[in-house]
């Protein structure tokens, strides 16, 4: 196909160079530093073996942040798939306004995470936001600046909203590709709309659902950073300090390069294992044939 055997390599070289420069080298560096105690200005570093890992793994704060990460991953990604799924099913059913909705629901994709954070911090402000009327009825009932649970809910809401467009597009595409004849046949056999959703549509969009779940699970762990940084800064009282934010604060505000690297290494292994599990256990059960 190619006239020269080096040409294909040459063509991918720029991309490979970028990936190596901005992914593999930093990853290698993080793993390397996790075995050292590293001075910020590079004055000297000493090899400490697994000492950093021992310390991090015995630190209750690390486990708390890890636990929050898992809670966020489960709640936020589940909602971030289920909500777009409902919207996609509705938009697919040609109900009123479904055509403009298919367009408008994609718009949030164009908004950067940090901007979403700023908007949601305002929307959920206890004095001027959406919850302000609720607060006048029950004073002090909603305040993400004081109450950790409220802050967590704000984060989840912002994440789900920002996840709508992509998952919506994927799921809607899946639904649109189901042959009409199948739905019609089910309808003739007397299956109502709910029955058709559970027995015809959902089984047939399993590959799309799987894809969105895999991406959401891994994405929610890292992409939440921009939201935390703009909405809660990890507070109040550390209640929204997820691992990815803890790593940032330790490494970049606290200049603790070794501690941050060690946590990065652990987090990366966790994400890889998670994706692997999904592929091996869930992925095999999905039938890609139609």
């Amino acid at each position: 196909m190619f006239s020269h055997r080096w040409l294909p390599l040459l063509l991918v070289a720029p991309l490979m160079l970028l990936v190596v420069l901005f992914f593999y080298i930093p990853v290698f560096q993080a793993f390397y530093w996790s075995f050292f105690l590293e001075q910020p200005f590079g004055g000297g570093s000493q090899f400490v073996g697994l000492e950093n890992f021992k310390r991090v793994l015995s630190d209750p704060e690390f486990w708390m942040a890890g636990w929050r990460t898992i809670v966020f991953m489960l709640t936020a990604s589940l909602l971030a798939v289920v909500v777009p799924l409902m919207l996609a099913i509705a938009a697919d059913r040609r109900i009123a306004l479904s055509f403009p909705a298919r367009n408008i629901l994609v718009w949030p994709k164009g908004v950067a995470g940090a901007s979403i954070g700023v908007v949601f911090a305002f929307l959920f402000n206890p004095f001027v936001g959406l919850m302000a009327p609720f607060n006048t009825l029950f004073p002090g009932a909603w305040n993400p600046g004081i109450d950790g649970t409220d802050a967590f809910i704000t984060l989840v809401a912002a994440h789900v909203w920002s996840g709508i467009p992509f998952n919506f597009v994927i799921l809607l595409a899946g639904l649109r590709s189901i042959p009409h004849t199948l739905t019609q046949a089910a309808a003739i056999d007397g299956a109502g709309p709910w029955r058709r959703i559970f027995d015809v549509q959902l089984p047939l969009i399993m590959p799309q659902l799987f894809l969105t779940f895999v991406l959401e699970f891994t994405e929610s762990i890292t992409s939440v950073f921009a939201l935390i940084d703009t909405i809660t800064k990890g507070g109040p009282g550390g209640s929204t300090t997820l691992l990815v934010y803890k790593i940032y604060v330790d490494g970049f505000s606290g200049f603790d390069l070794s501690g941050a690297s060690t946590q990065t290494a652990i987090l990366m292994v966790f994400v890889l294992l998670l994706a692997a599990c999904q592929f091996f256990y869930l992925g095999r059960r999905i039938n890609y044939e139609r």
Binding site: D59, F127, V128, G235, P236, S253
Partner: protein, 435 residues
């Protein structure tokens, strides 16, 4: 032909740089009115002489500036001059990346810096590491108009009076008598300093890297527990309790009547109050029965980084000399509310016709506050991973304010986690001597 053009362009480009002036960079972290003042000083320096040219680069915040400096230093691409904030002092002293200003410029009269400002940036043996630049300290801001409306004619000077005033304001229907953001610098560090309380053993780390935190056993613990009670009583509000969502904004808008804040906020507060309220700025309140000691210098200082050639160092020295000039310090004070910290400048202000002008209001009271009697525990803070400690303190005390744990438990946890940070720092810099 093509080569000739290239050569000509190159000659022009290089010629412009080397023949006339040495270009150096200065990184700073401030924004807003302070950044405007810094830029004005850079422009004035460049206009005043032609041997050197300084390029002042704003990094957006102290933290970002330090992050970039670390990355740049590792890449050997760092600026000659850089502004660092108070909490990074120990990291820099041990970094081997900076040249102490007193070594570089032994002839400067460093003694003219007031003791309160020197102590924070000098080694245990008294050598000044950095040139104090935007110096601030904690002051007590009150909205005189609101206080008088509630019948309080005297500005409170003790915590007992502050709380009495807060009760009066609350009884008069005021929703936010006293506001704080619970920041470590304000409610722990400056409180401990002016009450003469240690934050850690070894005189806050000045005598060795093996210090341990003592904040859970000093009178500061009692004060912090009081803050929680006062908040439950509705006398003290946290930033998140205010409509503004930010305590300085809440005070400046008139929503809250009293706050403890850096002198660096004076310009913004005075501007916001103009024509609406009367602003009073005094030294931060004391508890009855405690002798007043100096408050710490806050803000930031300028360091000279190693690894530059002679011409660049000369340019850096010239800029530092320029910044020390009385008229430059007076300009900076008048435009920002930061405090001049050399005696000659204070004298110059006192002798000028504008000695009582509001633009120098913070200078007088700020210096007075930093010039109170010192103890070995009020020199400064020389503790490792201190930025992380500040985060830990905020996290634990926020839980106490939210009622999830008592303040004593919060401080015990803070001490425990803080000591772990200190031990790791000690290990990271194993074999290094505290200068």
């Amino acid at each position: 032909m093509k080569n000739l053009t290239l050569a000509a362009v190159a000659a022009l480009a290089f010629g412009a740089g080397s023949a006339q002036a040495t270009d150096i960079e200065f990184w700073y972290g401030n924004t807003g009115p302070v950044e405007t003042a810094i830029k004005a000083q850079c422009d004035a320096f460049n206009a005043a002489q032609s041997a050197h040219h300084i390029n002042c680069v704003g990094q957006g915040s102290y933290e970002v500036s330090m992050q970039k400096a670390i990355a740049a230093y590792r890449a050997k691409n760092h600026p000659v001059l850089i502004q660092f904030f108070d909490a990074g002092t120990l990291d820099l002293m041990l970094s081997d990346a900076v040249e102490p200003v007193q070594d570089l410029m032994p002839d400067v009269k460093w003694d003219s810096y007031i003791a309160g400002a020197r102590a924070y940036y000098e080694t245990s043996k008294g050598k000044l590491f950095a040139q104090p630049y935007n110096s601030s300290t904690l002051l007590f801001y009150t909205n005189k108009t609101e206080l008088e409306k509630a019948g309080i004619m005297q500005t409170p000077t003790t915590w007992e009076e502050v709380i009495d005033a807060a009760r009066t304001l609350k009884a008069a229907g005021h929703a936010c008598p006293f506001v704080t953001d619970g920041d470590t610098w304000r409610i722990l560090e400056q409180f401990s300093a002016r009450h003469g309380l240690p934050i850690a053993t070894k005189h806050n780390g000045y005598d060795g890297l093996d210090a341990e935190y003592v904040i859970n056993t000093t009178f500061a613990a009692k004060h912090l527990a009081n803050l929680v009670e006062w908040r439950n009583e509705g006398l003290v509000r946290l930033a998140a309790d205010t409509k503004a969502g930010n305590y300085t904004a809440a005070f400046n808008a008139g929503e809250c009547a009293m706050m403890e804040q850096s002198s660096g906020s004076y310009a913004a507060a005075a501007k916001a109050f103009d024509g609406k309220y009367e602003l009073t700025v005094t030294m931060a309140p004391m508890y009855k029965g405690y002798e007043r000691h100096n408050t710490f210098v806050g803000g930031a200082s300028i360091y000279v980084m190693k690894g530059h050639d002679k011409a660049e160092i000369e340019a850096a020295k010239a800029f530092l000399d320029f910044l020390r000039k009385p008229e430059q310090q007076m300009f900076f004070t008048a435009n920002t509310g930061y405090v001049p910290v050399t005696t000659d400048v204070l004298d110059a202000i006192a002798e000028s016709d504008e000695a009582d002008s509001p633009k120098y209001a913070t200078a007088k009271v700020g210096v007075e506050s930093m010039n109170q009697p010192a103890t070995p525990d009020t020199r400064g803070i020389r503790l490792g991973f201190y930025v992380q400690f500040r985060e830990v303190f905020m996290e634990e005390t926020q839980k106490a304010f939210a009622g999830q744990q008592t303040m004593q438990v919060a401080l015990d946890n803070t001490k425990k986690r803080g000591d772990q940070l200190l031990r790791r720092f000690e290990q990271t810099y194993k074999g290094k001597q505290l200068p």
